[in-house]
Subunit: 460 residues, 2 copies
């Protein structure tokens, strides 16, 4: 009601450009009424009237505006005013607005928010977890291309705000697109009158906000930079990531891989700070899964119970044979998983790895097989154990089984990580225990099959 009565007066004040009078008049109005008023103004007037509002009220009024008017207004406001406005909105309102804005503008807005508010919003804006967009900080030094070096240095000297690093400064065009990154020393060494937009320092390297953090680590190593700028798909600079952040990321990535390779879900916190139940929760399910896989061995052994009864000597070498396969598989899988994490192996390299592991597996298998055979013969000859009259055939069974099972281990250890990656899963989950479990089951079948062929007619 008040608004309706006052509106004609406000019009007069606006027409007369009586800003002081208008400011007083707006002070007593309800935010929604002010919003109504602003929406009825021509676009160029919206910003002017809006700026008359005290900042706390401005936020309230802004929230009441229709989306398209919010956008118009944002365009006509300076960055600092924009920040204040958007920061004051509730997370829901904020996301509603940011969703509507052209991506470049909205992402820049998000990065200008204070950290506590930014985190909610970046998550909602859909940067994938563990992406560059979640790691970056918006506190960098931005320069305008037409500035002289002298002006840029004055600007840097005068900066009071919290800045993540001064080592590298960034030249952005009017749309906020990244034009150039300059080391501070390059600025210092340049002629004071040169335009910063014309300075040449080094090749421009930037990373997209969607880049997964493990690739980020590779970028830092490749370019030996202390900071990398993060941009959106339009080239608009959103923030920076510094080398020391990446050091932490790299350590976390390795921790995850090592935990997974040990056959447990990665702990989120240091070992001693993880609660008993959290540890159980991380370890229990995987141990259970492995147990279920392993329990197939009991069925396999049961299946060959007849052979075992006829040739009990076969039972003696079961642990030795299956664990040899597990060990060689564990070696291969840890080499392959680490090489994948370091980007030394591409998905198309699987056949190269297979070829290598085939020869390695044969060589290592022959070595262990030979040793196993020698052990049986030696123990028999020395009289330490009696493997029966067919000890040479038992030895041959063990030799061939070891050769086969070690080969099986290396091939399974090589292929499983590639297979998992193909399925979109983490190769590190092809941990040594899983390879060992697979090889245990297959190794037992192999062992009894070899025994069946070699010992048929003698022991079996």
């Amino acid at each position: 009601m008040i608004a309706e009565i006052l509106q004609p007066d406000l019009r007069l004040l606006i027409d007369a450009r009586d800003w002081d009078g208008l400011r007083e008049a707006l002070e007593d109005m309800d935010p929604s009424d002010v919003a109504d008023l602003i929406e009825k103004l021509p676009v160029d007037m919206e910003g002017i009237v809006f700026r008359l509002l005290p900042s706390a009220r401005a936020t309230a009024v802004f929230s009441q505006l229709e989306l398209d008017h919010q956008e118009d207004l944002l365009r006509s406001l300076t960055s600092e005013e924009t920040l204040h406005l958007v920061g004051g909105m509730t997370p829901d309102d904020r996301v509603r607005l940011l969703d509507e804005l052209p991506t470049g503008v909205s992402r820049r807005l998000v990065m200008m928010l204070p950290p506590d508010k930014r985190n909610d919003t970046t998550a909602l804006l859909g940067y994938p977890e563990d992406s560059a967009g979640r790691l970056m900080t918006p506190h960098f030094v931005a320069l305008e291309p037409q500035w002289t070096v002298a002006r840029a240095l004055r600007h840097i000297r005068a900066l009071k705000e919290e800045i993540e690093t001064f080592n590298v400064v960034y030249v952005l065009d009017e749309q906020g697109r990244l034009v150039r990154d300059l080391r501070l020393v390059a600025l210092l060494k340049a002629s004071p009158r040169q335009r910063v937009g014309r300075l040449e320092d080094r090749a421009l390297v930037s990373v997209p906000a969607t880049m997964p953090r493990e690739e980020l680590v590779e970028q830092f190593k490749k370019y030996d930079r202390v900071a990398l700028p993060v941009i959106d798909s339009h080239g608009v600079m959103l923030g920076i990531i510094t080398a020391d952040d990446v050091l932490d990321v790299q350590a976390e990535e390795s921790t995850e891989d090592i935990h997974k390779m040990g056959g447990t879900q990665a702990l989120d916190e240091p070992y001693l700070e993880t609660s008993f139940f959290s540890i159980l929760h991380k370890r229990g399910p995987w141990l259970l899964l492995l147990f279920l896989g392993q329990s197939v061995t009991a069925s396999v052994m049961g299946h060959f119970e007849g052979e075992l009864a006829s040739a009990l000597v076969l039972a003696l070498f079961v642990p030795l044979i299956i664990s040899s396969g597990g060990n060689s598989g564990s070696q291969t899988t840890s080499l392959v998983i680490r090489a994948m994490a370091l980007k030394e192996l591409e998905p198309g390299d699987w056949w190269k790895v297979m070829a290598r592991e085939l020869s390695t597996g044969l060589a290592l298998g022959a070595m262990l097989g030979g040793l196993g055979f020698a052990r049986i013969v030696a123990w028999q000859k020395l009289g330490w154990t009696d493997y029966g009259e067919h000890y040479l055939l038992v030895g041959a069974t063990v030799l061939l089984s070891l050769l086969g099972v070690v080969l099986l281990g290396t091939l399974a250890g090589a292929l499983l990580p590639f297979g998992l990656r193909r399925l979109g899963l983490d190769p590190a989950a092809a941990s040594a225990p899983f390879v060992a479990t697979l090889v245990d089951v297959l190794g037992l079948i192999l062992y009894f099959s070899v025994a069946f062929f070699i010992l048929r007619g003698t022991l079996l």
Copy 2:
């Protein structure tokens, strides 16, 4: 002979301060004769005469001097002349000289050598492999404390030499001791007339040249620096290490740990670039060692052959039981080794880890044991397998054995890394395969012992 004849003349030239005449006279002399001459001069004259020599000859003459004269001379020469002299010596001569010099001086000299010569000498000087002293580069910006900020900035602008980073600059006193490190931006923001020795930027952090590289990574993470200065025991600054170097170091450390945890010696080169024989060399010995450990299982099984013959059903669960111990051990050992690498666990924490793993092992063991018991009962009741009339006792044997072996696995996985570290060995060598092998042997003994007590009078 020539020297003896000429020497009186030289004396005259020196007494008359006839440097041009002396320079000509020295040109025709043999380096060893010039060295003799210099050794006979008073200390303050040595440097003067020496400076008359062309630089190539100076090096030759320098090598001929007695050690104490070399030292005297070095003290009276400027750094650049020193560099040239020492760089021109053969590695052996260089080390002989450097060994004699006070440490601070000699290490500074080494760092001034060109990189190719430096590498030999740093190795010889005894920086341990993988220490900060081996990683550092001597190319940093050094400032003198009494310089004004304006002069320091002029100095930096004029620097033409290769510098690793300009982001941080270092104030050294006359003895080369590190007084202060300043970010370039701090210099830029300071008043031009201030003395750099008086500037306050942030706490001074430095690392000793002997610091192992894995600790270096921790320092970078702790202090969030892009570069850290390296000093000797006298506080003399020797070089710097930058964050991107440390990123590589960290990745290499993780690679080593992961390879070792997989039961292989760490590869020095990427997987695909490592030759077949080199791979065999890295994997073979460990696989062999594991095999020898594992072959104890054949003896253990042989020892219990009588029990196996009486109760063949026991053989069926051998793989399941021993691998469950291996899996829980693998989980624990990977958690503990990683926590050690991240310095989350100190040597004195072993009992905390034991306490945790005791309860974790019991809980996980009870879970698997219960499941194993349930499986035996279920298979029996469903008629899928016939475990005989004493199947409940067999189930109880499996239950208790699983409980024991999982506990054994967790405790062995927890203690082995601490034990290895106590012995001065790498905890990562307590890899999953080694824990599994240990637990296989102990687990078998446990299993048959449990069976003996439970099944005595029935199956056994």
